[in-house]
Symmetry: C2
Subunit: 333 residues, 2 copies
């Protein structure tokens, strides 16, 4: 295996989040399912924006958040995703590059506008997502540059890529290149309903070894194996996956391999302000640890640390240096 | 005096904040003076954006923040300010209306784009402002609707309105209408360097009774009377102003009239994340108290409460219901 130019390269939907607070009844009135990501069209996007409260605009996108987190720990990171050359596209590009991430994917010059996710944060800190995919729908295999993928120690892919029509081909192309170069491939299952849409394909990716590392939260795990029993689902995941991490909110996480099951606690926080990005930033810390050769337990601690940071403020991008945060918390890498 | 349709009506520059963190040396490298508001042109705006880190976009504008705060306490509020009909202008309009504020000023359809303020937040939480006034420069006396101004118990004006060429005429028009209707006029001095630019005019407004209520922080007060001695400056302010409040960051505030000087402590906060909006939200609480007939001391406590909320997160708009916050803190109005 040659040296890697990047510790981690992520591929995902390039999205700007539009975040507002609302009471639970807002979700009911607008037919939203709490904690879930729904795909919406432009008309519904406009209707939701008109109804929602005063908002904050901040770059988002699940894998993009993770990659920004990886860079925040001090690692070398790159991102592949599609924006349009419009004001929000410029915001996305500015922000991810400003975070130290290489982002070279060609933008669209015509077609739908840059993707937006209307995030409703309820008083309990839970977030409900409404995604207008827009320009992100046009991510194609051509956008995956073989040389760049082969130069990354780990490539990280989001399950949400199964939604845009051609992105899954970009995903498969990247995985093939990565394995050809002796690299590792990681996948996040993204969302329980996303798993619901693509269960057989995701299981296939895991069982056939197209992905080496799986990230899931409890709900996604239950959806994947269609069982409400955690232990049953976890046992099945251990059989299927080489390495997997299941996050359980305040209960911490479980790291599983064929051989072992390790539990790592969550970092306590005073108040969850906005849960958006918790899973994304957990993955950032874990991937950073793996890329730098820590054991799984320490990698999970780094993940818990980053997740705790991001849920204490609005937005899914860290507001402090994760590198310094890790040092302050006795987790230098 | 007829009943008022609005508790408070604010007139100010309609601005979207673009907020990023940076170390102190960023300010030095880019020739910025810490804690100061600088007016910049479009070229400098682009250069600063290119250099600054990953950012958050959130509606701002000093008087606009105050008015959103006033509405957040549950009061009836209106705002007058100029945006363009572009994406950021739509964000501004959406956010202020979503906060429950009446905002009917006609947008510009041509000319410069909606105003932006590039906010650099240093590790101590201090904010350094770089304002591209854009469309806000085109606020004119015509934008002040006599009937609306006359229907507001208090009108609130920002000193920053002295920067756009015709806004001060809008300001004077509004003050005349308000006094004609038996209403009160409040002014914030906005910024020590703003005071430096318009010292004689501001003193004239205060001494001639064009404004009844003055908001200033310590630096602005020192600039107004060109003295480094707080007590000397405060004595002069007491002679000139009918009612004035001087905010002193963690030292709380001083409320002065010809007859009395009252000191109200600040609300302690664990960590100042972003000082943007501290003065604006203090004014919101104080104005809300006045509008609802509380004494000056309780009004200042409401101000301190709102200021403490806004400095504990990124952005100058409150993230929680100020009405509920006031109730939780034993300050129902």
């Amino acid at each position: 295996m040659i040296n890697s130019r990047y510790d981690v390269l992520g591929i995902g939907n390039a999205i700007v989040d539009v975040i507002a607070r609302a009471e639970d009844d807002f979700l009911i009135r607008h037919d939203m399912h709490k904690g879930r990501m729904a795909l919406i069209d432009e008309a519904r996007a406009q209707a939701i924006y008109a109804a929602m409260g005063s908002a904050v605009e901040v770059s988002g996108g699940s894998a993009a958040n993770t990659i920004v987190g990886v860079a925040g720990f001090g690692a070398r990171a790159a991102f592949v995703g599609k924006v349009k050359d419009d004001p929000l596209g410029k915001v996305f590009r500015h922000d991810i590059r400003a975070a130290g991430v290489d982002f070279e994917t060609k933008h669209a010059t015509s077609g739908p506008s840059t993707a937006r996710c209307y995030v409703i944060v309820t008083p309990d800190g839970e977030r409900t997502l409404n995604t207008y995919l827009g320009a992100a729908q046009d991510l194609r295999p051509d956008d995956v540059v073989a040389e760049q993928v082969a130069a990354a120690g780990i490539i990280y892919l989001e399950g949400y890529l199964w939604d845009p029509p051609q992105a899954k081909e970009a995903f498969r192309k990247a995985a093939t290149i990565a394995h050809g170069a002796g690299r590792q491939v990681a996948l996040t299952l993204s969302d329980a309903f996303c798993v619901d849409r693509y269960r057989e394909e995701f299981l296939d990716l895991i069982r056939k070894g197209t992905v080496d590392i799986v990230f899931a939260n409890e709900r996604e795990l239950h959806s994947l194996y269609q069982t409400a029993d955690f232990d049953t689902a976890l046992k099945l995941l251990r059989e299927d996956a080489r390495l997997a991490v299941v996050t359980r909110s305040e209960k911490g996480c479980v790291v599983v391999t064929h051989e072992r099951v390790e539990t790592v606690p969550a970092n306590p926080v005073e108040r969850v302000v906005d849960a958006t990005g918790a899973g994304d930033l957990f993955a950032a810390g874990f991937l950073y640890g793996l890329a730098r050769g820590t054991d799984h337990c320490k990698a999970a601690q780094l993940g818990a640390l980053a997740a705790a940071e991001v849920i204490q403020h609005i937005g899914a991008r860290p507001e402090v240096s994760l590198k310094e945060l890790a040092e302050q918390n006795g987790l230098p890498v």
